[in-house]
Amino acid sequence: MENIEGPRIRHEKEVGGNRMKEGQRRIRVLIAKPGLDGHDRGAKVLTFGLRDEGMEVIYTGIRETAEGIVQTCIQEDVDVVALSSLSGGHLYHFPKVAEMLAQKGMDRVLVIGGGIIPEEDVPLLKEKGISAVFGPGTPIEEVAKFIRNNVTW
């Protein structure tokens, strides 16, 4: 994992012209499911929905580790990582991803979460670097709007 250098990959994208014109690049989002939970209807719907909102969206499938998610964030040079959990494991998994991103100097990546998350856990998650938590039934425009307003380019 250590041999993957974020800046190098980013540089290739710049050469490719993707980053050359500021403001024209699409927001890149990684949708990830940390932990063992396999329910990914929401993750898939969000993938389609954010693509329709004009974003580039990668969904790497279920059962990711925090290490794997952070590695993908670096490799794919994403601006946002959206974490989903329906199994009640969010208090363990979400902060771990945010923490590891910070350790890798990737704190510009906006971390958001969703799934079955009790309201009372939201303040704690925010404290740990999860910028927003979206519950079941949230319209995707709302998620997209939050991303646009809070993403760091």
Binding site: L36, H39, D40, K44, V45, T47, S87, Y92, G137
Partner: protein, 563 residues
């Protein structure tokens, strides 16, 4: 065979025309209609009115389409007297935290009238990781009970006799291990395998399509599941044991429509049956099988689905597999309410959704009913919400009068038309899957998963545009403070469980465990039936992770392709 004579039909036709051109036309011109198109939940167009003409047009025949309960084609039910003989069995999906906590919850539910318990196990158990595996962190005891070895199962059933209470295991990728745990625990209670009342879900193929709880690649996983069916068939355990439940439920929860639920479930069932038959088991000797479907809120479509699928199943067994034994042609159901329609918003509304689902199940003539607790959009159920579910099922069974007569919706022009339509649509999609190489080939290509994901997004868009009203979500929202108490599993439970498994590894006879694990690997390589070898490993307290790791070494682990 017409059910009306020609004269009567002519009169109906004539009066229908008059009604359309006068009364109906006038009403529509004056007030209009509140939707442009009326469709079922799966998008099947619905007529404004159904009459005998609809049945007559397609030469609908009572003996051919319905017949009699307990007899081919089983549309009206699988036993001759249905709920008059055996009322719907109420099951409760339950389990959380530790074996001790779950045992307490089970005893409580049984004392309140539950007849069937389904062991909900947590994710590391379902995926065959030990509790102290780093991958299990954060998940221990969360969505079900943590099971690491036979020791946990002994505690779960402490004081609950396995020949008295129907027990189900929501076990799929790990199903032979759960079966072995239950057989071994029963033995300690002095209950022989033939007496155990046990149902194991054991439908691993749907895990690749929908729920995601798979371990090995699809082909060895299919073999793993069929080992149980074969074991039950060859050891005469079939009287009380059901070795497989074909699940459409999880596909629906992932977004599938009713037709996909039926077709993909049938295709999976065919894959299992073909594998079992290839081992020399006669189709007429197959052990009992069940299907698990969702009872959604489109009441008529859901009832028709159950009726249509019973008929489809009977035909499939008779025509495709040349079965002669009526028992094999009759498919029993376990049911569940569609929790994906439950809302985190105004959660009390879910009590109503659950009740409607219970009505659907009773009207469909399912054998085992189940309703999700109202808090399931937010958490696993509290004792209070689990009790409410039990009471709802008891009210439906004892106060509504639905069980008094068999298949009460039969004969409705709408119900029979829709039943036929669903059967036809499901048959077409089933044949498409078969033409693409069958269930397993389609799973490997991601066909079903992609079709379901498309459908899920369509449904989302309908909610977004208001084409589909979802009370409390896209209409009739309220500013609210959550008023219900939620179930929480103590984070410290994880530490306690880790300690427990460490202690187990110290106290057991590790030489025996090593030998048993070696046997497992060899049995997997030799492709013998794995159940007896797993049973031996379980009895010496091998852990679930150790057992699965032995198989991982042979089969490898599966990863679904990225999106």
């Amino acid at each position: 065979m017409a059910i009306y004579d020609k004269e009567e039909l002519d009169e109906i036709k004539q009066r229908r025309k008059i009604w359309e051109n006068t009364l109906l036309k006038g009403e529509i011109e004056k007030r209009g209609e509140w939707k442009k198109e009326f469709k079922t939940n799966s998008g099947i167009p619905i007529e404004r009115l159904y009459t005998p003409l609809d049945l007559n047009e397609k030469e609908w025949s009572y003996p051919e389409k319905l017949g009699f309960p307990g007899d081919y084609p089983f549309t009206r039910g699988i036993t001759p007297n249905m709920y008059r003989g055996v009322p719907p069995r109420m099951f409760v999906y339950s389990g959380y935290g530790s074996a001790e906590a779950t045992n307490q919850r089970y005893k409580y539910l049984l004392s309140q009238g539950a007849k069937e318990l389904i062991i909900a196990s947590d994710l590391h158990t379902q995926l065959g990781y030990d509790i102290d595996n780093p991958l299990s962190r954060g998940e221990v005891g969360k969505i079900g009970v943590a099971i690491n070895s036979l020791a946990d199962v002994e505690v779960i059933f402490d004081g609950i006799r396995l020949d008295e209470v129907f027990v189900g295991a929501q076990a799929n990728a790990n199903s032979p291990i759960l079966l072995a745990f239950v057989i071994a625990a029963a033995e300690k209670q002095g209950v022989s395998p033939q007496q155990i009342k046990f149902v194991v879900q054991n439908d691993v193929l749907k895990e690749y399509i929908a729920r995601g709880t798979y371990i090995f690649p699809p082909k060895p996983a299919l073999k793993f599941s069929c080992d149980i069916i074969e074991y039950v068939a060859r050891n005469n355990l079939s009287e009380w044991m059901c070795p497989i439940i074909y699940c459409g439920y999880h596909m629906r929860e992932a977004g599938a429509n009713t037709v996909q639920e039926m077709a993909f479930t049938m295709a999976n069932a065919v894959a299992y049956i073909e594998e079992v038959l290839s081992r020399g088991i006669n189709i007429d000797e197959l052990p009992q099988q069940r299907a698990l479907f969702v009872a959604g809120l489109d009441l008529f479509e859901e009832v028709c689905k159950h009726r249509a699928f019973r008929r489809l199943w009977a035909k499939m067994m008779k025509e495709r597999f040349k079965a002669k034994n009526p028992r094999v042609m009759a498919l029993g159901y376990t049911c569940g309410s569609q929790s994906s329609l439950y809302t985190a918003q105004q959660p009390m509304n879910n009590i109503v959704r659950g009740t409607i689902s219970g009505l659907v199940q009773a009207l469909s003539g399912v054998q085992t009913i189940n309703i999700a607790a109202m808090d399931e959009a937010l958490s696993i159920p509290t004792e209070e919400s689990a009790t409410l579910v039990l009471r709802t099922m008891q009210i439906i069974t004892h106060e509504t009068g639905i069980p008094n007569t068999i298949d009460p919706l039969a004969g409705s022009y709408y119900v029979e038309t829709l039943t036929d339509e669903l059967e036809e649509r499901a048959t077409r999609l089933f044949e498409k899957v078969q033409s693409l190489g069958g269930a397993v080939a389609c799973i490997e290509q991601g066909f079903q998963e992609a079709e379901i994901a498309k459908e899920a997004y369509e449904q989302y868009k309908q909610v977004k545009t208001g084409g589909r009203v979802w009370v409390g979500v896209n209409q009739f929202q309220m500013d609210e403070k959550l008023s219900i108490k939620l179930m929480r599993v103590d984070q410290k439970e994880e530490e306690r469980q880790i300690e427990k498994v460490k202690r187990l590894r110290k106290e057991r006879d590790n030489k025996k465990v090593e030998a048993a694990l070696k046997d497992l690997k060899e049995a997997a390589i030799e492709e013998t039936n794995l159940v007896p070898t797993i049973l031996s490993a379980v009895k010496v307290y091998s852990t679930i992770g150790e057992i699965c790791n032995s198989f991982r070494e042979v089969y490898g682990e599966y990863r679904r392709p990225a999106y």
